[in-house]
Every structure is written in C-alpha cells, then in structure tokens.
C-alpha cells in the first residue's frame, strides 16, 4: 500500500482562484469542514491576472443598466448557445456579489459621487465593469483570500489532485500529492467543487500560466461527467507578440475601453471595415463617435474595437494574413494617440492602465504613452467545460460540482469580457452553497483502497518507466508492435510542446476538417508517447514529474476540443471554420457534449438546447 495522509472534509474545493475561494467561503460560512487545494501558493491563481473588471449591472454610471440588459448582452455575445437560466441567474445576482466584495474590503475605483465606478467593455451596452485600474483580478482574489483565511478554511497550497474517487456512483473523495515534498494525500469528502480554471496550456501562444492544464475538466471527465461546448475556445485579440519570450501575455481590453485603437501597417483603423450585422445598430461608423463613447457619452455608439473578442481576433488575423501586420507579426494597438484629445494624456494612461504601462516598459522596453503596442491573438479562455445544473452547479456525478472557467453554460459560443469575474462570484457561491447542502443530506461514502492503490501507482509510473517497459498497465499490450511504442523514454516537456504545436496549428483560430482530423491522429500518437514518459530525480518539487502528470489532462481536453470542433460544422463565436464559414441555424439549437464511453473512448453527442421561457424571450426582444 502507498503511504498517504488522510484529510476528512465535508466539502473539498479544488482550485483557489475566484470561484474556488468564493465556493470555500460559502461552504465554510455554514460551519462545514472545508478543505481548499491549490496547485500554486494561495492568491497566485489566474484570477490575479484579470485586468479589466467585473461585469455587474450596478447602474452607477448609466442608470439605464439593469439585469435584463446584462442578460440580453450575455446571450447575444454567446450567440444564443448559453444556458439561458445561468445567464439569467448571473445577470440578476452579479450586483450583489460585487457589493459583497466591497463589504469584505475591496476598494474599487469611484464615481464622482463616491459609488463604484464602471467602465465600458466589448459587447456590454452600458459601462458595466467595476474595476480597480487594470488590476481588478488582484483586488478580487486578495479580498476573497483575506476574507476566507479568517473563516477556518483548511488551505493546502501547492498540492495537485490526480483523481476523484467514487463510491457507488457518488463522490467519496479525491487523491493527490503535495508538490513541495511529493507526499500522497487522501481527501475524504462528501462533496467536491472543481474550480480549476482553463486549458490554455494546450496551446503554444496563451495568456495562461502553467497551471491551466484542464485538470478539472479531465478529473470530471474521468469521473464520468459530461463536458459541453468544448469547441469554443476564446482567443483574446490582444496579447503581446514581442519579445518572443513574452508572446501571449495579455494586453487588457481596458486599453480599448479607454480609447485605444487598432491600426494596421498602413495606419488604417481596420475594425471599421467589418461590422457584423447583429451589432451594426450599436456600433459607431465614424472615429469621433467612437471616441465620444469611450469618454462616457450616453448617446454615442461604441467603437468597433469594442466588438466581441472572437470577431476582433479574426479581423486581426485577416490583417496579418493579408500582409498589413506590424513588424513582429501583430497589429498596432495605440493608446498614445489620445494625447490629441486629452491635455494630460500620459498621466491619464499611467493612472488608468498602470500595469499595462509597466508590462510594456519592463518587458518590451516600450512606453505606451508615446508608442503604439504590437498585439496579436492569444489563447485566453475556454467557454466549454463541465456541464452543470444551472441552479446548483452539480455535474452529472452526484456530489461533484464545478464552477468558474472549468464549468460551462454561461458564455455559450463567446464570453464577454468582464463576465468571467462575475461568473466566478455568482456560481462559486452557488456551488459552495449546494455542495454543503449535498454534504448535509448525504452521509460519508467509503473509499476503496484498491482505487487508491491504482491511482498512486499510476502517479508514480513516470519514475518507474524504463525503455521498453509498460508503465501504464496492460492497455499498451495491443500496441506492442507500434513503432512509436517501441521507442525510447520520452521527455514530458517535449510531448507537451508537441501537443501545443498541434493544437495551435490545427485546432486554433481558423479551423478546417482536414486539419482537425490530423490533430486527432496526432493526439493519439502523443497519447502513446505519453505512456513512455520518464522523469529524473525524486518527488520533491519536481517540475518534470508534475508536467508528466499534467499531460494526461491536457491530452483529454485537447481531444475534447478537437472532437467537438469537428462535430460543429459551422462558424459561430469563438469557433471559426474556413470550410463552413457561415452560421447554421440548426446547429444554433444544440450544444455538443462529450463524455467517456463504456469502452474508454470519447463519445460525442448533439444535445438540443431547452426552449427559453417566454419571459426571457421578451427580455431579449426588448433589448434588440
């Protein structure tokens, strides 16, 4: 038997970004025993990177804003594939969740009359993003963290969960290890909330850190839960493109919200050239009107730079492809030009966009108050994730919940900026609340020692593997004759890098059937190579070992993205197919679901979207 320590909880939360922290706070507020596991140190999760703001119809800047407008904006942005119930709950509850943060000590930027200031963002009709300069995520995670630590939550930092353990179909616990020492940990839990974030590390150019390897997606998938909308990956239009070592790092949409404009190498504001029909009424067709909008005019329409992210990203790709890009393969994002309009522009930029100013100054040696930035699309967010019940956030596995980026439902085919931070708060709270309720209504489950042994052995396999050995059990026997299988021990970093190239080139911003089928073949080959991964050293803080274990998850989510993307033969939101460039109305009525079949292979299902109730249809009609 492997050695491990056991930790008994009512609710275990996996992931300590905004959603995980909010879930843990909610669960522990009722007195339940709550454990919180995170791969990094507390407060370092990806929420910290969120810049622009948190969307909530507080109506402090424009009193016309309300939940109905926010709901309609979210549904339109998601191309009507979102769960209408989640979009409704989100729009209704976000304002309370933001005000609650203020009660817990968050300090948002203020309006002239001392209320929370809100800024413009792509796809939002009114100024709606409560923010703190361009470090809103830091403010949010620190507020939640500082509030949470005084509530008796048991935090396990730098720990990884490798498997969800079940008892007769329901959740019984989870098995993992601490990254610092490599010691195994068994978490007994009546309910588990997955809040592990995204899958950005499946791509080469990404704004995501090493943590974002689709752990929650893969844990849920392996436990038998459904994944949905996985074809919808958000490529944020503005990531850094130079220098190479920082390529992919996010440049906030807030730059455009504050008046920044996109230009090609000819100096043309190319976003005016292609404004989608659905947004024509709301989009400025001239430069002065766009500027008026960013300065708070209530009558002006928004500039085309603030169209939805999927559209802006594709326009940028078009400019680059057609030879009108910037020297390092991007386009220009110019905020310095506002000096023509504002007397103290440089100071204004440094105040409104302090971390962008520092990021470019320190990493690229560029002063954004005088010089345009070079930007290009970067893998940023996955709209798809674990299917959850809209009210409770429970997956199809009893006792297993999911919230935040690793869950799906709110964002449909494309997420609006600012809606992720509010998503974390609204559904993190709900997941915590319903997980505690589930834990209360269901006794503890028992964990099969055989399961624990199997997971432990699987986790240690990368240390044991030798050339020609079969590290992962009998499954490889049938492939014994395979040339790839007979090869040398594999380096986990190299497989990860090859997977990233495959996904970037074949399942990226512009997709075709041929490319994606090739990607699926590549993924199969990579899976076989992953069986031969070998790592050196011991179990203490061993990045090679951690990367080897992350690979399993990355391969699952990559396959899910590719299979779902093959199944959706149309272009919609974040999913663009060169071979099917238009929307297909029939496909707009369904979601693509993938799950692990009884034979272990990935199954794809087309699931019709439930009919929206008349009251919500009416809201959408009124907001057209």
């Amino acid at each position: 038997m492997p050695e491990y320590r056991t930790y008994p909880y009512d609710v275990l939360v996996v992931g300590a970004g905004g959603a995980g922290l909010r879930a843990a706070i909610e669960a522990s507020s009722s007195g339940a025993r709550v454990g919180l596991v995170c791969k990094s140190l507390l407060g370092k999760a990806h929420t910290v990177m969120a810049e622009g703001g948190v969307a909530a119809s507080l109506g402090t800047v424009n009193a016309d804003d309300n939940w109905e407008v926010h709901f309609a904006d979210t549904m339109r942005g998601g191309q009507y594939l979102s769960s209408w119930r989640m979009a409704e709950l989100h729009a209704r509850e976000a304002p309370d969740r933001v005000r609650e943060l203020e009660a817990w000590g968050a300090v948002f930027d203020r309006t002239g009359d001392g209320r929370i200031l809100q800024r413009n963002f792509g796809g939002h009709r009114y100024p709606r993003l409560a923010h703190v300069g361009d470090r809103t995520g830091l403010e949010m995670i620190r507020t939640l963290q500082d509030h949470g630590v005084h509530q008796g939550i048991d935090v396990h930092m730098e720990c990884t969960v490798v498997s969800i353990l079940k008892d007769d179909g329901r959740v019984a616990g989870a098995f993992g290890f601490d990254r610092q020492r490599g010691r195994f940990m068994l978490f007994e839990a009546r309910a588990i909330v997955l809040a592990t974030g995204g899958i950005g590390r499946a791509y080469r150019v990404t704004s995501n850190s090493w943590e974002y390897t689709g752990d929650g997606h893969a844990l849920a998938y392996e436990a038998g839960a459904d994944l949905m909308d996985m074809e919808f990956v958000q490529f944020h239009p503005t990531g850094m493109v130079w220098p190479p070592s920082v390529a992919g790092i996010l440049v906030t949409e807030g730059v455009r919200g504050e008046g920044g404009v996109l230009r090609n190498s000819e100096g043309r504001r190319f976003m005016f050239d292609d404004i989608p029909e659905a947004y024509r009424n709301q989009t400025a067709d001239n430069e002065p009107e766009g500027w008026e909008y960013t300065q708070g005019s209530r009558t002006a329409r928004r500039p085309p730079e603030l169209l939805t992210r999927d559209h802006v990203a594709r326009c940028i790709v078009r400019e680059i492809k057609e030879g009108r890009g910037s020297p390092h393969g991007g386009v220009f994002l110019d905020i310095a030009w506002i000096k023509e309009k504002l007397p103290n522009a440089a100071e204004h930029i440094r105040r409104k966009l302090p971390s962008m100013y520092h990021q470019f100054k320190e990493l690229a040696g560029i002063d954004i108050t005088t010089t345009p930035m070079e930007v290009g699309p970067t893998t940023h967010y996955v709209m798809g994730g674990v299917w959850v019940d809209p009210e409770s956030q429970m997956t199809t596995v009893p006792g297993l919940f999911a919230a935040g980026e690793c869950a799906t439902g709110l964002h449909g085919a494309n997420r609006l900026g600012g809606n992720s931070l509010s998503d974390l708060l609204v559904f993190g709270k709900r997941a915590g609340e319903f997980a505690v309720r589930f834990a209360g209504e269901n006794g503890s489950a028992s964990i099969d020692p055989g399961d624990v042994e199997a997971v432990a052995a699987h986790s240690l396999a990368p240390f044991d593997a030798r050339d020609g050995d079969d590290a992962h059990g009998a499954g490889d026997a049938e492939n014994a004759g395979d040339a790839e299988n007979a090869g040398d021990a594999e380096n986990p970093y190299r497989i990860q890098s090859d997977l990233q190239s495959t996904m970037q080139e074949r399942v990226g911003i512009v997709r075709t059937e041929t490319d994606m089928l090739q990607a699926l073949d590549d993924i199969e080959a990579l899976k076989r190579r992953a069986h031969r991964v070998r790592v050196d050293g011991n179990r203490e803080y061993n990045s090679g070992w951690h990367t080897a274990l992350d690979l399993d998850n990355l391969l699952v989510v990559s396959e899910a993205v590719a299979r779902a993307a093959v199944a959706r033969k149309e272009s919609r939101g974040g999913h663009f197919r060169e071979d099917y460039p238009d929307k297909d109305a029939a496909l707009g009525q369904l979601n693509i679901v993938v799950r692990k079949g009884p034979d272990g292979a990935m199954q794809v299902e087309r699931r019709p979207i439930a009919e929206m109730p008349d009251r919500l249809k009416q809201v959408i009609e009124e907001q057209r």
């Binding site: 370092k44 817990w104 203020r110 001392g114 050293g537 990045s543």
Partner: protein
C-alpha cells in the same frame, strides 16, 4: 543568440552548492526564461516556483546577482555583459529545494492581523460612499502582489531572524491598507507595537527599494503606522481617550 553562464543554487535544507550551466540567450529574454531553458535542456528536476510570468502574481521571487528580484521581470539585457549570472533562493525563508523557499510563515502571519471591519453602510441600499481621493492611498498598498521580496531584504528577518516578534514590511503594508481604509473601524495599533514589532523597523527603506510594484512602503505605510503608535500609545491625553473609547465599545 549568445551563450551566457549561470550559477544556480542547487540543494535543500541539508545544504547545497552553486551549479554552473550555460544556455543561449535571445532578444527580450528574462532570467526566468533562462532558468526554464536550463530546466528543459540540462536540469529537468531543477525546482523553481513561478506562475503568471508577467509580474502580476509574485511567485518567482529569488536573488539575481545578490538582488531580490522577480525572475520574470528581470531582463537578461540588463545583466552585465560577459559575466556569469548568479541565481539563488530568498534568504529570509527556509529552503525547500533549489530556488524554492518555504514562505508559509507569511500566510500564518496574515491570519493574526485583525480583518477588515466596515462601518455600517452609508446608503439605504447597503452601499458605501468613498471619494477617489480617499481611496488612492489604500489602493497603493493594495497593489501588493505578495512576492515577499520586501520580507527577504528586511534585515530584521534576514539577519536577525526575528520572525516570531516582527511581521515584516509586507504586513505593515497590509495593516496600513486596513487602518487607512476609509470604511474600516478596527484598531490594530496596539498589536503593531506589542506583538508585531513595528518598533524594530529603523527605516532603512530597503523594502521600498526592492518592491516590484513600486509601493513606497516605508514612507507611506510604515512611518504613518509608527506615528499612530506614538500618538495613540504614548501621547498621555490620547492614552486616556483610548481607555475611555475601549470601555465604550
């Protein structure tokens, strides 16, 4: 591309030594990129903590050529040409392995600082009113990314190892952010003096110098807190007032 030599600390709590690696450096690379390249090429089990790689999370703190820095924000072209680059772990905390230290003490310290306690809401809808001018000061402190470089450089922790009676610059900034929060009603002054060791700080401003967020730790956080300690605890009239105030609440 040019080859650069790195001396990287390898070892654990039981001891260790600098190991020498050579790797190619290209335009725009930062020290963390070089460490990753070394990890991928020749030292796959080299332990390094990092996360956002954009100076926003404060994970990759270490000492580069003796200076406490975020490795992700230290550009290779700022290193002296032709000389080896020395990379070693922070000194104020116990070593786990290689470049990774055990910073858990910081998380324990924070739990001991009294949490935010707001005044009753200003408006009927349960919200508050604060002017931007009043929150500017606190927002500076709230920029902190908890990289603990200030804790690393502070001689009270680094040389004197007074971790039991001194919370360090990071948590003076935290306490200042709470004390100067326009809505906060809690009083932390007595603890700052009695158990949190603000008196040990002799304002050498080393912490301010290393802060990657450019927070003026000493001038804006620590000195005003020291003044509050003096005013509240040592001014006889205020002391008297304090006694009455405490009885009231």
């Amino acid at each position: 591309m040019k080859p650069v030599t790195f001396n990287v600390w390898r070892g654990d709590a039981d001891g260790g030594a600098f190991a020498t690696y050579e790797t190619e450096i290209s335009e725009g690379m930062v020290v963390l990129d070089a460490v990753h390249r070394i990890q991928a090429e020749s030292a796959p089990d080299l332990a390094v903590r990092w996360n956002c790689k954009a100076g926003k999370c404060g994970s990759c703190s270490a000492e580069v050529n003796g200076a406490p820095r975020l490795m992700c924000m230290t550009r290779m072209d700022d290193m002296p040409d032709g000389e080896p680059v020395r990379v070693e772990p922070m000194k104020s905390f116990p070593l786990i392995r290689d470049l990774v230290t055990d910073v858990s003490w910081n998380f324990e310290v924070k739990k001991k600082i009294r949490p935010f306690k707001p005044r009753p809401p200003d408006a009927d809808d349960g919200t508050w009113r604060m002017s931007q001018d009043d929150v500017d000061r606190v927002q500076e402190f709230r920029k902190c990314i908890e990289c603990y470089l200030c804790q690393d450089v502070c001689h009270v922790l680094r040389e004197h190892q007074l971790h039991d009676g001194f919370i360090g610059p990071r948590f003076f900034v935290h306490a200042a952010a709470l004390e100067m929060h326009p809505l906060d009603t809690e009083d932390r002054v007595e603890e700052l003096a009695a158990t949190q060791g603000i008196g040990y700080c002799n304002i050498t401003k080393c912490c301010t110098a290393v802060c990657p967020e450019h927070i003026t730790i000493t001038d804006n956080a620590i000195i005003p807190l020291k003044e509050r300690v003096v005013d509240d605890l040592y001014d006889p009239i205020r002391r008297l007032f304090r006694v009455f105030r405490r009885k009231r609440t």
